[in-house]
Symmetry: D2
Subunit: 342 residues, 4 copies
């Protein structure tokens, strides 16, 4: 049966999910809510769905699943309400910027037995999925070193920076999740260094724009992450996994694969200049995976715990930068409600 969707938030990421839901034959977009009336009505007109209040979507009998694309500080409350209302929940990352609040929220999800999926869209990129498949096929043997380069085309506004929770919680968090996804073993230690090279205003806002991170697991696996808020050549997103028998990598993506040759050399176009065009397919696959989880009542992946752990890694990175030392992830997380560390 088709999954009936409500959408909370009709901003740019809300539109991405609306389009993916609309194009998916197993889904139906029933209603949208947004604090800005025009945003909601425009989106509703485009996809032929209703405009409702967030409350009505939470309580609506004709809605099976809700996609949360509202500002971060509303996520945890909405997840709790939706859990209690028996809806399946897809929430854009992060659940909250505060680790304690995330734990509380996940306790509610757990108590209600709700389906919760967190929007680490990159796990659904077909190229990264293919990398994961190569690993799972055993083609590169035991995993040893993961290398992630992740650079944005340009820094966001300082206003955004101030609300973002900082580079580790806002940007690197995707790379932390990708490292966990690829390492196939929990991360034990985080070491990070960060600086302001792109824009002094980012530094004045208390954040960094350039960061390097080293991760290690208990068995000694490594991951390194290299982040910059500005890459003149586009949205730079590379992953590489080195193992005992070989290595696998995913190349950067560009809108078109052409090459112009002349006296200056051979030039291919810049990379995608926007995460939405870079990850178009990933967003569609992500929603499709969520629909599968809702229909099959299987646990959704990436889970709330995945969201929590990535945030914990970000917190550990911040401590590492502040203290100039390797930080055990367990320092940050403490034990969870179920007694496990994660």
């Amino acid at each position: 049966m088709s999954v009936r969707f409500g959408l909370l938030g009709a901003g740019r990421i809300g539109k991405v999910h609306a389009k993916a839901i609309f194009a998916n034959p197993a889904a139906q977009l029933v209603a949208v809510a947004d604090a800005i009336g025009k945003a909601a009505t425009d989106l509703a007109a485009q996809y032929g769905c209703a405009v409702r209040s967030a409350e009505d979507i939470v309580s609506g009998d004709d809605i099976d699943a809700v996609v949360i694309c509202t500002p971060t500080d509303t996520h945890a409350d909405l997840i709790e309400q939706l859990s209690r209302a028996g809806k399946a929940i897809f929430c854009e990352k992060p659940i909250d910027l505060n680790l304690g609040r995330v734990k509380q929220c996940l306790a509610v999800v757990d108590a209600e037995g709700a389906t919760l999926m967190v929007g680490f869209n990159r796990r659904f990129d077909p190229h990264f999925m293919a990398v994961k498949q190569v690993i799972e096929n055993g083609e590169i043997g035991a995993i040893e070193m993961v290398t992630i380069v992740s650079r944005d085309p340009g820094a966001p506004s300082v206003d955004y920076i101030k609300r973002s929770g900082g580079i580790f919680r806002d940007m690197t968090i995707h790379d932390f999740d990708m490292a966990r996804f690829l390492l196939d073993e929990e991360i034990d230690t985080v070491t990070a260094q960060a600086s302001v090279l792109v824009d002094p205003a980012i530094g004045e806002a208390g954040d960094f724009d350039s960061a390097s991170v080293m991760l290690s697991t208990a068995s000694g696996r490594h991951a390194t992450i290299s982040n910059s808020r500005r890459a003149s050549y586009g949205y730079d997103q590379r992953i590489e996994v080195h193992g005992s028998k070989g290595a696998v990598s995913a190349e950067n993506q560009r809108p078109v694969s052409i090459e112009v040759a002349n006296g200056s050399g051979y030039t291919r176009p810049p990379l995608h200049d926007f995460f939405m065009t870079r990850y178009t397919e990933a967003y569609a696959h992500e929603i499709s995976a969520f629909i599968d989880a809702v229909q099959s009542k299987a646990p959704a992946q990436p889970s709330g715990i995945d969201g929590l752990v990535a945030l914990a890694l970000a917190d550990a990175a911040l401590i590492s930068v502040r203290d100039g030392r390797a930080v055990k992830v367990s320092e940050v997380t403490g034990p969870l409600a179920d007694g496990s560390v994660f």
Copy 2:
């Protein structure tokens, strides 16, 4: 206003167009017809449209435009009927395998002032479009030499071969159109050689499976085409244009861009193994361009004349192989109704 579509033919290419129409907010799929009832009802169920007879679609008041995906020998008749019924027409190539019949048909289209677009989908591939744009920007100067390599993953059935009109009319025809598209000057002379290297049964059916073609224009521009019915590494589709100031090329496409490295070397996956996955975006852009033409009442490109000329080049290639000589295209086409050669 949304363009209301009828679809004739619910086979594999019909399904491709149905999907593109369905996903296009400027279009509406009203009805489908197919000689095989189940094909039509399956497609109708998937996209929520009606099943009708072809006749009803041709005459239907609620239909603005029709996509022809039926067997080749029905194309010319349907185009004539639809022209007279005032429908806009999108027809899969070729219009007919017989050049004389194509001319007759286009005379009717012309007399009725009908909108006709012929399905040379490759012109709408984003990579090839980008190549064309580089040329039009003047980035490579005057065009001199076009190089096209076009190889299928595997040969079709001998049954298909027998009905196909032969490799030049069935397969190379796309490359002839691409050469015209890129050369920006009409082709004057065709020289071809062809042989049977892949499957003797293709030779027994009177066809070839391996072909090389040289084209020249009046001003001395060159194009070369290399065709094979079988490439173990996938659907090989490359174009390259060399000009006075530089060159531009479009690389092959593969489903995912990863690379696995081990003691045997660095391996990227094979290419797409099917023209439909290779040209997914091209099909969507093609329908979108047709919708634009219908809505704006502008002439559709590629036109019926484009279809006719590509067929003429195929006929010239066949004569060239038979006679071992360069064949003037004008030998084949003769003057058209309007006095022009094309």
Copy 3:
């Protein structure tokens, strides 16, 4: 024992061979001759060898092998003299521009049992050698289609053009040899088209600057060659072989393998801009192979017959352009002295 070399001609290609001989521990450069005294003395000073007359080199008792780098119209005479003097001979291509003269010359070589190697240096390029090895390993199955793109960075002077024998005998001749090397079957038919797109002065000199060639073998294998006298992006030299089980290609070479990325895209440097830097390793391997042949008294490859056949293919291409038809190679060659066609 070290092979003692005489060098006839101290021009640019003479210098290349002098350097390769000097660096080869199995060889010794004894003497050089050049019509221009200073050219000879400069080269002799650099490599510590004697300056002699050509006659003294031909007759010198302390010389085992001679490298001919003099103007083309002296090659055949020198080969005959050196054959009679019992020297091993390495001659730059072509032996002569006239096929009949080449046959006469090879008859002398044959009668004297002389070792003669013709300078098709590309066979010794490590990348092209690796392509050949892949073919011989059976990795791509039966050979079906060879594709050669070969473009010079810039056209030579019109003076050079006038003495060159024309594009087919001067430039394409290397590609004809490469096609034979890769096809592993003699070429049966040549079809060519040619035009003047780069420089009208080349046309006024009776030559072409842009050419396309199709070759076929008796069993139906294809080769295509695309030539231009001017490529703004450097010395473009690509080969590709498509077979029943796969394909193998050699990429273009550039002086350094770096890539610069910025807002305009990702740029790799232009290709080599000169055949001598492109084929540096090939020249060294070529001389080494000649030394091996001299020392082992094995037949040298490429042989005089290889030189003759490549020239015959050039002649056939010229006839094809003139007559607009496929030309049988046997039309051009006629039977050889030994009764064979080649």
Copy 4:
């Protein structure tokens, strides 16, 4: 005037330098010494030089410059002796495994005003030199992040490991030097993590086989280094520099640039499997640069100080791994004799 060379050590790296000296018209190889008599006589026979004792080479009147390729623990003594004997000195890295001993040695070099060049050959790789040139041209703007991936084809013997000073002093030392070369600013802080993933015997010998390093400069520039002692796909040597206006990278090198395509995909050969074939050109350029320095009496680069600093970075990395913290380089070096930190 030609530089007259003595060579100390006729092992594998000694042979590399002997070949480069022999082929260089500005140099002359006069004598070689090796503790293993046959090694010296074989090399002498190949290149036509004398065999002498190390002492005779140090004191030889007919020797201008000496290349030190003996075991590491002899380097510092030899440098001191050669400095006092007025010879120009090229020494393979490292000068010594002990930082204090290196300082003593450099004080002697300084006092004697000797020319000393340390063998960080990678600075002379044409690809890496081209990267440096792009930076110096200002093409990528201000340097921000350097990424180095450096992996050996296979781990050396445990015997070698035990004498090597450990992965940081033996292997990463090249990457430390490359980072300094590219960052264009002294490194301020070193953070490292290391583990044993390749071979437990390496761990038992007290060393690591897998390491990640983060470096930072006072202005906040980053470098990351990823090392493994074993890469099944060959000698993996990549550098990449990200700057304010763009990025530049050097690709991996392989013996031949071909690609084989079949049903399994598109495969390029593995990388070089040995540092000597990978860096053939670098070694020749390195000796050439040394000769230039000797002839022009200019300071040689990389200098003794470059050798010292790279060693200090290795020591800092070791402390970082041991203590789990960022280590200031100044903790390790202390002030030098001349009062500067470096």
